[in-house]
């Protein structure tokens, strides 16, 4: 009984820690919206864009903010921005979790079932291994497991970091998603060259048609190589950005209409529902990115010579 009440107290403290900054955050939005209430709509758009875009400041709103260092090396702006900080945070979280889990498996014997965090991670790893890698890539999927698992958990943690107070989702920045897609692109091409050889890879570009059609087919297939990573980029970026815009727009409806009734019956319930949907989308988009990466790798490296039509697009 005593243990139970201690548990409850701990839970309450945790929930309070989560809720208090959230309230401060809403207060900040309210101040921002009321400071120039003359044209409420425009300021709503400004606050939303401010929330979506990358910046050189880490903001903890009622407590102030601190500027991040600005680095310009050889004409390139390599400043450490908010999204970079969140990517580092995600990397630190993942390193901590996976180092802990890896060591945990060394301490328990192979006959004992893992518990706690290790159990959750085992479920995720098995899901990626069996449902994503093995079923899409088939033979030789082990070689691509490290990339697929890394990209899945990295995107997942970045997506979820955008949903906590003061968080920003780095996957809502097109540079981040483009970089991730470029990795997938290169891995796909290397897998294709490895599976078919240079000659087979080039033959693939003709799609097995008559030489008279090559003048049409080669450009189409060549463009097709690049549309896949670009589609991956836009999908992840637009999904994460759209989610944030929808939540903020719903909150701002009550400020634009200046009505408590709208706030109670529209803004709060709808934004809570969208927020829950966003948690689902965070998992779904991480899964989709990994799944499509695996699918592209599998298509590129399949030994099937029938030149089956490509599943994407």
């Amino acid at each position: 009984m005593k243990r139970f009440s201690a548990f409850r107290a701990g839970e309450f403290a945790r929930i309070a820690i989560l809720i208090i900054p959230l309230l401060f955050g809403i207060g900040t939005i309210a101040r921002a919206a009321s400071s120039d209430a003359g044209h409420g709509e425009e300021s709503a758009g400004d606050v939303i864009m401010h929330h979506i875009l990358d910046s050189n400041k880490m903001e903890f709103d009622p407590f102030g903010s601190f500027a991040l260092p600005k680095l310009v090396i050889g004409g390139f702006d390599l400043s450490i921005t908010k999204h970079v900080v969140f990517m580092w945070l995600a990397a630190i979280i993942l390193l901590a979790v996976f180092l802990y889990v890896g060591n945990y498996y060394k301490t328990i014997g192979s006959r004992k079932a893992p518990g706690g965090v290790a159990n959750v991670m085992e479920a995720i790893v098995q899901f990626i291994r069996l449902d994503v890698a093995k079923s899409n890539i088939g033979e030789g999927y082990e070689r691509h497991m490290p990339y697929l698992l890394t990209v899945f958990v990295f995107i997942l943690v970045l997506n979820l970091l955008g949903l906590i107070p003061y968080g920003a989702s780095a996957t809502g920045n097109i540079n981040v998603t483009l970089t991730l897609s470029v990795f997938t692109f290169f891995i796909t091409q290397v897998a294709a060259v490895k599976a078919h050889g240079i000659k087979g890879y080039l033959a693939h570009l003709t799609a097995g048609t008559h030489p008279a059609l090559w003048i049409i087919m080669i450009p189409i297939e060549f463009i097709g190589l690049f549309t896949k990573p670009i589609a991956l980029t836009i999908r992840l970026f637009a999904n994460m950005t759209a989610g944030h815009i929808v939540i903020l727009s719903l909150i701002f409806i009550s400020f634009i209409l200046k009505s408590f009734i709208v706030a109670v019956f529209v803004s709060v319930p709808f934004s809570v529902i969208i927020y829950l949907l966003e948690i689902f989308i965070a998992f779904l988009q991480a899964f989709i990115f990994t799944m499509l990466s695996a699918l592209f790798i599998g298509l590129a490296s399949s030994h099937d010579e029938s030149h089956e039509p490509e599943a994407a697009h």
């Binding site: 589609a231 999908r235 637009a238 999904n239 779904l284």
Partner: protein, 78 residues
């Protein structure tokens, strides 16, 4: 169209474009969901496979719709 500046036409285009993109995506994903439900009802053992295929297809369609949405947002912001 007299009396509407370029900016107003831009907003109009963005609104219509976003609506059309959503319309297309809605029809497409609706078709997928209908077929998936039918397939699951006919062959309940294949539920897991059908669900995976459905999610992938829905994501691909959604990606195309999001291209449209991104263009609409750019029209409004620029």
């Amino acid at each position: 169209m007299e009396g509407m500046g370029n900016e107003a036409l831009g907003y109009l285009g963005a609104g219509i474009g976003a609506g059309l993109a959503v319309l297309g995506a809605g029809i497409g994903i609706g078709n997928i969901a209908a077929s998936a439900a039918e397939g699951t009802a006919r062959n309940p053992e294949a539920t897991a496979d059908i669900r995976t295929t459905m999610i992938i297809a829905a994501a691909l369609i959604e990606g195309v719709a999001l291209f449209g949405e991104v263009i609409a947002v750019l029209l409004v912001l620029k």
